[in-house]
């Protein structure tokens, strides 16, 4: 709930801060409507479409309406998946408009005490500090290993959580022990001659909960001939803050990251999470109003690349890769596809694996409903979107669903649970699958060697 006074301030802020040219750039052709998941799943409601949302933002600026609950509802319901951008011939940067609008509302809205405390903890006290992140994850690891988890599950203690969170608890990966999370490499030499010098952006969740995936990423880079630098001064990308209406904090994190990477003399800065990569890639926009940062941000942005692109550039797909015979499908990470414009490289790599029959699923480019913390704050819509996704995945008969972002990975795992497919289908990050395939070939070559020599 917002009070009248809050609404007045929000409206003024809209008039001051929203990019009017960008709002006017939307000519209301509706070309974006058929790609918007919330428009489709809401039963074709214009208020849940990109065109409708832009019109609402503009109407607030024009003082045609107040930023009331319904306006907020419409903006909250947006996944921020940005599928509406690549299809917009007019080139409206919807994501930027949404981010600004959400930031204004968040900043000027009085949250309940509980929400304020949680937001402060998460956005300001936890994610910006790798050390604390490790501790928090360590607690989850303790929960999982100590027997508490099975206790909680058995006793029904988890029933106090809403059902979507309860299911989420089930699919969380096993967090590595604290000690391992602390001992991270800073520099890795390539396998064979140096083809390229790259820096690796580890991310905060990726370097804790998904540490194994980060290890696989670095290993693949080494195999592809990269010297890998992992600067310890890097921090959280700030995506969660940027999308959650904490733009100021996001800017701070952006500056710390730029400083951590700018003197490394590397060809690329490699990411393995579409969500982080896309946010890093827009640091130039984030810092556009800060004169001394905008050039540095541009230089930083120019180097951001998803691991799949780097691997394809280094002809990793020419290597022999082998997996047990299976049908594989790929779920695009929205931000990887719509912002980083990477969609062909992951598919190319998957198709290159012996044993893999790659089958495209219908609407693979449509959001899975994970969308940052969307699945927690908008569980109903999120699950509706997810169930559609699983229906499409099922039609491919795939045994493996590959994704390229941790949020999507968890969401798809959740989808597999919900669809009752856990015994037949697994979800895996692209790099983990690729490393398996690279090892697969080693294993089978060894086997062959043994057979020949014995």
């Amino acid at each position: 709930m917002t009070t009248e006074k809050e609404r007045e301030i929000i409206q003024k802020q809209f008039q001051e801060r929203m990019d009017e040219d960008e709002l006017m750039n939307c000519m209301r052709c509706g070309f974006c409507l058929p790609t918007c998941p919330t428009y489709i799943e809401s039963g074709f409601q214009e208020s849940h479409s990109p065109r409708g949302r832009i019109a609402l933002m503009k109407a607030v600026v024009d003082r045609l309406i107040e930023p009331d609950e319904d306006v907020e509802r419409s903006l909250n319901m947006c996944l921020g998946c940005r599928a509406c951008e690549p299809v917009c011939p007019s080139g409206v940067r919807y994501g930027h408009l949404l981010e600004e609008a959400r930031d204004i509302i968040q900043q000027h809205k009085k949250h309940s005490f509980l929400v304020r405390v949680v937001r402060k903890l998460v956005f300001h006290e936890l994610f910006p500090y790798p050390e604390r992140m490790r501790m928090a994850m360590g607690l989850i690891g303790f929960y999982q290993r100590s027997g508490l988890q099975s206790f909680a599950r058995k006793t029904g203690l988890l029933n106090i959580l809403p059902s979507s969170l309860r299911q989420m608890e089930k699919v969380l990966p096993n967090v590595p022990p604290l000690k391992e999370m602390k001992e991270r490499p800073h520099h890795l030499a390539p396998e064979g001659p140096v083809k390229r010098r790259v820096a690796f952006f580890t991310g905060c969740l990726m370097d804790t909960m998904f540490m194994a995936t980060n290890d696989a990423t670095m290993r693949l880079l080494q195999l592809a001939g990269c010297e890998v630098i992992i600067p310890p001064a890097q921090t959280c990308c700030g995506a969660l803050h940027g999308h959650g209406g904490e733009k100021q904090k996001a800017k701070e994190l952006a500056k710390r990251n730029i400083e951590a990477f700018e003197r490394l003399e590397v060809d690329d800065i490699v990411t393995n999470a579409g969500g982080c990569g896309a946010f890093l890639m827009e640091y130039d926009h984030l810092l556009k109003d800060e004169a001394e940062w905008s050039e540095r941000a541009k230089a930083f942005v120019a180097k951001i690349k998803d691991i799949s692109e780097v691997l394809v550039e280094l002809d990793f797909q020419q290597k022999r890769l082998k997996a047990p015979p299976q049908i594989v499908t790929y779920q695009d990470s929205c931000h990887l596809r719509n912002v980083m414009k990477t969609s062909a490289a992951p598919r190319k790599l998957l198709r290159a694996i012996e044993g893999v029959e790659f089958r495209e699923m219908k609407d693979a480019d449509r959001c899975c409903g994970s969308a940052g913390i969307y699945n927690i704050v908008e569980p109903e819509m999120s699950m509706q979107i997810l169930d559609y996704k699983m229906e499409m995945a099922k039609q491919t008969k795939a045994a493996t669903i590959v994704t390229a972002n941790p949020g999507c990975l968890l969401q798809v795992k959740l989808g597999i649970e919900r669809a009752g497919l856990a015994d037949r289908v697994r979800a895996v990050h692209l790099v983990d699958f690729l490393l398996e395939a690279a090892k697969g070939i080693q294993a089978s070559e060894q086997e062959e060697h043994i057979r020949k020599t014995s």
Partner: protein
Amino acid sequence: MRNLISNEVKQQLIRIVGEENYDDSKAGRLVYSYDATPQFQSLPDAVIAPRNTLEVSRVVKICNEHRIPIVPRGSGTNLCAGTCPVEGGIVLVFKHMNKILEIDEENLTVTVQPGVITLDLMNAVEAKGLFYPPDPSSMKISTIGGNINENSGGLRGLKYGVTRDYVMGLEVVLANGEIIRTGGKLAKDVAGYDLTRLFVGSEGTLGVITEATLKLIPMPETKKTMLALYEDLEAAARSVSKIIANKIIPATLEFLDQPTLEVVEAYAQIGLPTDVQAVLLIEQDGPKEVVERDMKKMAEICKKEQAVSVQLARSEEEAEALRTARRTALSALARLKPTTILEDATVPRSEIAKMVKAINEIAEKYNVKICTFGHAGDGNLHPTCPTDARDRDEMERVEKAFEEIFAKAIELGGTITGEHGVGAMKAPYLEWKLGEAGIAAMKAIKQALDPNNIMNPGKVFAKSTRKRVVVTR
């Protein structure tokens, strides 16, 4: 604004369609206050989503009784302010009435509800080897209800005609709430007036279309696509007239000038030439021999008319990319400036070169930028002006320029709108084209079918005839 819907009427309406299908929230109304036409916005009093014909009929009856305006709306992509609720009232949306009811493979017809998306319909019939030709550029989001009411054309209009040529029968809810059926699956039918044709292109001003039976034809066997490049605008336009004068009717004959090519390429990135003054996108379909013969002949004509090069698409993917790119032209032009004003002038095909020349001279005279693309084969051009509504001075010049373009089109035997309709935007100009007696005849029809003027009021007929193209004050 006065409240058109009393609480009692609101309750009656809710009883018909259900709470969830009646929305009078501020945000809910705002998102139905506009369409794709720049400079028009007006809030409705409520938005109603009926679930079937009977509900439509009951809603219309109540509105008729209480003189509440009704604006039927498909996807709101029209370019004439046809769905802008200029007099308030209710907006009727067809999100529930979006089913394909039947594909009749024996009679080659398809029967649909009005909310079906054009492209979904095409895909469904093509899966059965059948073909529904009218393909407005907005087809991936436009609805059949909208297509019928605007009598929309498309890239294939030259050879296959427009929506009108495919509408065989309709179910219509009249302004008094009565439900009638016109036409049907019959190939021949002269029982009474041809009301089907009357409702096609009526822009929601005569009744609500709740079902349509459309004609299908067999899928052409083959198709070929090419681009002809020109250093000279008029040479390109001349080629169009020459092709037709040579008794060839290609499936598609589209024109794009240099500034349009540039923005389309910026979006689509498929390697369109941006260093020539104009291109023609030419397609032919049909039996293989005919297609090959026609393509060869057309290539020769283009070269004779000084095309600098003629390039055949190497694959269907490449051809599809070209068509898709062409369809984005209007929206892509919108990236140039905050406001995009487009026109729909249409002239006889033989006059196309003269029209192109006139447009450029007029643009120069008033010092405004005008980019032109369009269905050249139909004589239908879309001169488009990227501008900024906040710049009063420029808007006045744009206004004058378009007025002169209109005058020129009519002078050449053309019309003020080829396919985008009259709506609220062109209403003041209708008399220019029809004359007083013509308007009177049309008004008589309107009066007979909708005596209380509740069906999409403020459209087609202007309260007064004024010369206002783009500036509304």
